[in-house]
């Protein structure tokens, strides 16, 4: 891990880093050692590691719960280079939006492609952050494309302690969810124009976790209410902070 910059504002330290050429950001309480539990935040499709929604969640977890938070750019997103496959999916998805055809089947396939590439990158990032001193429990927060990656990561190896996931669905994900037993808070938008409601409910049902909570809010895919950030902070405080 190479740390390229370090700044501090409003009680939060922000370090930009790279792990195997993957650019990331680490937020942590200013003036304290980098140690203890960690939350990994995965951005959604078309977003990047410092998109406003990612930064808002990160700052809330740092200042509200004293947790460290890390985000990386997903494959084909942010500062990352884009493969031919990325370009083709992007163009096809844009075309669906433009023509008004249903885009979800294609988005869903692309999310799975990104997740497959992202899982080893998150594993390398977690290992590097552990070496840096963040060797406590690790939480994961990701919705939509970030949720697909989170499900793949949690199903692959027992690196995570608790996860906030959501805004996705589908049979392939349900198979992976059936291997996940960590506590899960799952977000679903009741009027999601992309993810069929039944697919989201079925995915929530598929998690093998004994401790799982579904938060379904009225509204469309991007209308997740801001108070869900507070709720996820309470979830991580419950599961990542001892005592």
């Amino acid at each position: 891990m190479r740390i390229s910059s370090e700044t501090t504002s409003d009680g939060v330290s922000e370090r930009h880093f790279t792990v195997d050429d993957i650019p990331g950001v680490l937020w942590s309480p200013a003036g304290a050692a980098v140690a203890g539990p960690l939350v990994l935040v995965a951005h959604g499709g078309g977003q990047h590691k410092t998109a406003p929604g990612v930064v808002a969640r990160a700052r809330r977890y740092v200042t509200g719960c004293g947790l460290a938070v890390a985000a990386i750019d997903a494959p084909g997103h942010g500062e990352r280079s884009r493969t031919q496959e990325d370009e083709e999916f992007s163009a096809a998805i844009r075309q669906r939006f433009a023509s008004g055809e249903p885009a979800w089947p294609l988005i869903s396939r692309y999310n799975a492609v990104v997740a497959r590439r992202a899982v080893p990158e998150w594993q390398a990032t977690i290992a590097a952050l552990r070496d840096l001193g963040l060797d406590g429990p690790a939480g994961f927060s990701g919705l939509s494309m970030g949720g697909v990656t989170g499900i793949a990561l949690a199903a692959a190896r027992p690196l995570l302690t608790a996860a906030v996931l959501g805004l996705t669905g589908g049979d392939e994900l349900a198979e992976a969810a059936a291997r996940i037993t960590i506590p899960v808070e799952f977000l679903l938008q009741w009027d999601d124009e992309h993810v069929p409601r039944e697919d989201g409910l079925a995915l929530f049902g598929a998690f093998a976790s004994r401790d799982k909570t579904l938060h379904a809010n009225a509204g469309r895919h991007l209308d997740v209410p801001r108070f869900e950030v507070d709720s996820s902070a309470m979830f991580f405080a419950r599961h990542l902070r001892a005592g």
Copy 2:
């Protein structure tokens, strides 16, 4: 309203009162005027106004949010006398439990009977509490039988500002829910042995509220996790406290 006793412990004042012979309890921050917003807590079937779950919620809303909280005994519950109808339903429900037959259809009918009798009692209680100084917005918190009463009360007249409801379902309730537009946090137990999951989901879907959130937790009817008390406190703080 007649106040029969007043005690204080751990920062919470507890007043026992009667309104038209209905016994109730008012909890409020100790050493402060009885004023501002209010949460009404309706207990579940077989419970009463000072059942542990009611008291836990009340103390949390008082000490965590500075809200006043009131509870009354439902018809045929707690200190209230029981009618022939109450006795018959109770006996029939007990018999269903003993024989292992599905009890929910009968519980559901009894909950509707109780709600019909409870609505004017809650209306009288709210009016008496307003006269006492609690003339701010009023929230309502009720699950299972208490949820059925809450839906009837919210649908009847616009007395309530926000409600935490849940652990129930059914077509009659869905009709009432379609007339409710206040913010709702709706609790559902994913493995409820009484309420069919589809009925609970359909009821959540039926609320006309633009601001509505479903919290579905793994577990049976009585397994609602304790952290939902904190979540409901945040919900009421958002909707009942100005600014």
